[in-house]
């Protein structure tokens, strides 16, 4: 079939370009890896600590911080390093444990723990997390200081007494529970969120930038030469359409397969996932063909393709997850086919849905594809049958 031949020629041409090997095959996997490594673990606030000693009270405070749930602790060697880290946002909060704590406490002084935050960020809120850990360590110390003042005994004696009595003091329990359905279930792998996003971003982007190939073939006269053969315009248009779809679909299959093998990414029910990919590839292919028929300068088209491709990906939730969008923005996002495809994947992957559950999303994507291809076919016909 001539349609198949034209499609295969497209595919071969794409594969032969060496730079495509990078952009089509290497880059998406590299980004999935990078994003999974950087952001896959969820956001945990980091507290930077400078502690002069490893023993004694200062050491206990430092250890208490290290064991506190919900934050990560990072040790720094000098005050300047920690301040710089807070300024640059590498840690949210800086804690400076003073030296000679025991001596100051003996003198009945109040201990000052340095606390460095930025005005933006949630440093101030983190203070309660740090205070909670420090209070625990300081409890017998404070009690001893109080008792020392009341009884005029030695601090060391009072501290020993306080430490001995501490276990007998009734605890006030804090019981924490969570409620609601997690948007991102804990069972989700660290690469599971990024993979569908990158799939959607790249297949669409590649389809758009592939329009440059179509423009070149028009400019170099290949398309009109095809016309001079006993091939109908419809066949050429169908062939080019199939070619665009094939390129996008091939890239998509590759990303799915490789991410499943290397990163153990869960794509949900296979049939559903493949259907989303197929229909989305059609949308991308149609968009690419429309661009290829409308623009005449392949360099210009390339630049515009990047803007549209990345812009739609951002808007459609392929960079920041849709769930983190504001409600208004989330509605607006559904102008893009990306949002619908990602909704489909979310249903399959996070909620364990099957093909029936994603029929609405598939239907919308099919409509996009049909409209785009129809427009593109019309424009392409005009473009290649135009004299000269």
């Amino acid at each position: 079939m001539k349609v198949v031949n034209i499609a295969l020629a497209n595919l071969r041409r794409m594969l032969r370009e060496r730079s495509n090997l990078f952009f089509v095959f290497i880059l998406p996997i590299a980004i999935i890896l990078l994003i999974g490594v950087e952001f896959g673990g969820g956001f945990v606030p980091v507290v930077g600590v400078v502690s002069p000693e490893e023993q004694g009270l200062a050491g206990l405070i430092r250890d208490a911080l290290g064991e506190t749930a919900g934050i990560d602790t990072s040790d720094f060697e000098s005050d300047e390093e920690l301040v710089s880290a807070v300024e640059r946002g590498r840690v949210q909060v800086g804690v400076f444990v003073p030296a000679d704590l025991e001596a100051a406490l003996q003198r009945g002084e109040q201990v000052e723990i340095g606390f460095v935050v930025r005005p933006d960020g949630f440093g101030p809120q983190l203070q309660s997390v740090i205070a909670s850990a420090v209070s625990h360590v300081m409890a017998p110390v404070g009690a001893a200081q109080f008792a020392m003042a009341e009884t005029d005994r030695e601090f060391a004696t009072a501290l020993d007494q306080a430490r001995a009595l501490a276990p007998a003091i009734p605890e006030v329990e804090v019981e924490t529970t969570t409620m609601g359905e997690a948007i991102f279930p804990p069972s989700m792998g660290r690469f599971d969120l990024g993979a569908p996003q990158q799939l959607v971003l790249f297949t669409f982007l590649t389809a758009l930038t592939g329009s440059a190939a179509l423009i070149l073939s028009r400019r170099l006269g290949v398309s009109s030469r095809m016309l001079s053969t006993p091939t109908t315009v419809n066949t050429i248009v169908a062939g080019e359409s199939a070619g665009r779809l094939a390129v996008a679909f091939l890239q998509g299959i590759y990303i799915m397969a490789l991410s499943w093998v290397i990163f153990r990414v869960d794509w949900g029910e296979p049939l559903g996932a493949l259907l989303i990919l197929l229909v989305f590839s059609a949308v991308g292919g149609g968009a690419g063909m429309l661009m290829g028929s409308v623009f005449s300068n392949d360099q210009q088209a390339g630049g515009i393709a990047v803007v549209i491709g990345l812009g739609m990906a951002a808007l459609g939730g392929a960079m920041l997850p849709l769930e983190l969008f504001s409600p208004t923005l989330r509605t607006v996002a559904h102008i893009t086919p990306h949002a619908w495809a990602l909704d489909g994947f979310a249903e399959l992957v996070r909620r364990g849905g099957n093909t029936f559950d994603i029929l609405p999303e598939l239907a919308v994507l099919v409509i996009y594809a049909v409209v785009l291809f129809a427009l593109a076919a019309w424009r392409l016909r005009v473009a290649i049958t135009r004299p000269g």
């Binding site: 009690a143 991102f184 808007l315």
Partner: protein, 394 residues
């Protein structure tokens, strides 16, 4: 250098007329920075997060009142908000409705349980999608709990040292307030300036420096294109010398880079409210950045066989450096390896230099970054020049 500037000027006119330079140099970065800021801007600026909490007080004694006081003073400091609810059902639906992130519940008999040591309990219920808010609520409750325990320990220790049992009389005879035992320490708080870019500036700068390398490529590839189209030997036949020809192309690339970056700085400032910093510092960073871009892309061109090959390889390198340099998303936040790897790109230094200028820092704050970027420029430019000289002899 008259010949070089003439070549540059002629090429500049050609490039501007061929709208692709305008698209890559100005429209693309501006449009993408705008879109990114629109979509992600808010998430990026954590600025002044206020956690919304609820409170269910079933106890209504002095002790539960003390806890409410703690919450209210935190509310006054502006770090959280507290909404009272009659019962836990109301508070739970508030969590479901995304009105609050978590709530505290003080059960009936809480105050009594503390006095009679009958396992008093504070309950914290958090939205599963708000782990940080929940953690902070837990900490607030725990700090209060520890405070109560510390006061009790203070009294017990005093009594034990006096050799007497804990009785109301003993408590009455105390000079100080046992609650003060919980404040044996305090935080000496200090605020530091921000040396990190806010959302709008981050995207503006990131896209600007990313597309800079493509813009510069237009100028640099010109040399190879002339080679391909046969105009190069004609140029060489003119009495202007090899240096002038290469310098002309380099000058063009430099001009394109500086012009587009300047327009982007002004454009993003007006359109997105991006804050680039004190002009002299920004100017130094831009000049250094453009020189580095010319050097790197020049090196690619000098080593490539064809214009097309150079274009492809250049694009690949520009994308890799951009990604590693953190122009699309922050790199190196976790893990030492990536945070060091990112600094082999001029992009990361450019962003860092701008960060150093943030919050009204003086222009000299950018000098370390400028120096690092110039190093890239000198090394790559030097090698490129050597390769090009050899190439143009043949």
């Amino acid at each position: 250098m008259g010949a070089a500037t003439q070549i540059a000027r002629k090429d500049l006119k050609l490039r501007v007329r061929d709208r692709s330079a305008i698209i890559i140099g100005i429209i693309a970065p501006l449009a993408l920075a705008f879109i990114f800021n629109l979509v992600f801007g808010n998430t990026f600026d954590p600025g002044g997060i206020v956690f919304a909490y609820g409170l269910v007080d079933q106890d209504r004694t002095e002790l539960s009142g003390a806890f409410i006081e703690v919450l209210e003073s935190a509310e006054e400091e502006g770090i959280l908000s507290v909404e009272p609810y009659g019962d836990s059902r109301g508070a739970r639906s508030a969590i479901e409705g995304d009105e609050i992130d978590a709530f505290f519940e003080l059960p009936d008999g809480f105050g009594e349980d503390i006095i009679t040591a009958a396992s008093p309990e504070i309950d914290v219920v958090g939205d599963i999608d708000e782990p940080t808010a929940t953690q902070i609520a837990t900490s607030i409750a725990e700090q209060f709990a520890t405070g109560v325990e510390t006061a009790q320990l203070a009294v017990a220790t005093t009594a034990s040292l006096r050799g007497a049992p804990v009785t109301p009389e003993l408590i009455g005879s105390l000079r100080g307030d046992p609650a003060d035992a919980a404040t044996a320490y305090q935080f000496a708080e200090d605020a530091v300036p921000t040396r990190q870019l806010d959302g709008a500036t981050y995207f503006a700068a990131g896209m600007a420096v990313f597309f800079l390398f493509f813009t510069v490529q237009f100028g640099v590839l010109g040399l190879l294109e002339e080679e391909r189209e046969g105009t190069l030997p004609r140029l060489m036949a003119a009495p202007i010398g090899r240096v002038a020809v290469v310098a002309g192309k380099a000058l063009l690339a430099f001009a394109l880079g500086v012009i587009s970056m300047t327009i982007l700085v002004l454009g993003t400032q007006t359109l997105m409210g991006a804050r680039w910093g004190v002009p002299l510092g920004v100017a130094l960073l831009i000049v250094a950045g453009v020189l580095a871009a010319v050097g790197i892309m020049g090196l690619v061109a000098a080593g490539a066989k064809t214009a097309e090959g150079a274009g492809n390889l250049g694009s690949i390198i520009a994308v890799i450096l951009g990604m590693l340099g953190g122009v699309f998303f922050p790199v190196g936040g976790s893990g030492d390896f990536l945070s060091r790897l990112t600094y082999i790109t001029p992009h990361a230094w450019f962003m860092r230099g701008l960060g150093d200028l943030a919050d009204g820092a003086p222009w000299s704050a950018a000098l370390p970054a400028v120096g690092a970027i110039l190093l890239f420029a000198v090394v790559t430019g030097g090698v490129a020049w050597l390769l090009l000289r050899r190439r143009l002899i043949t």
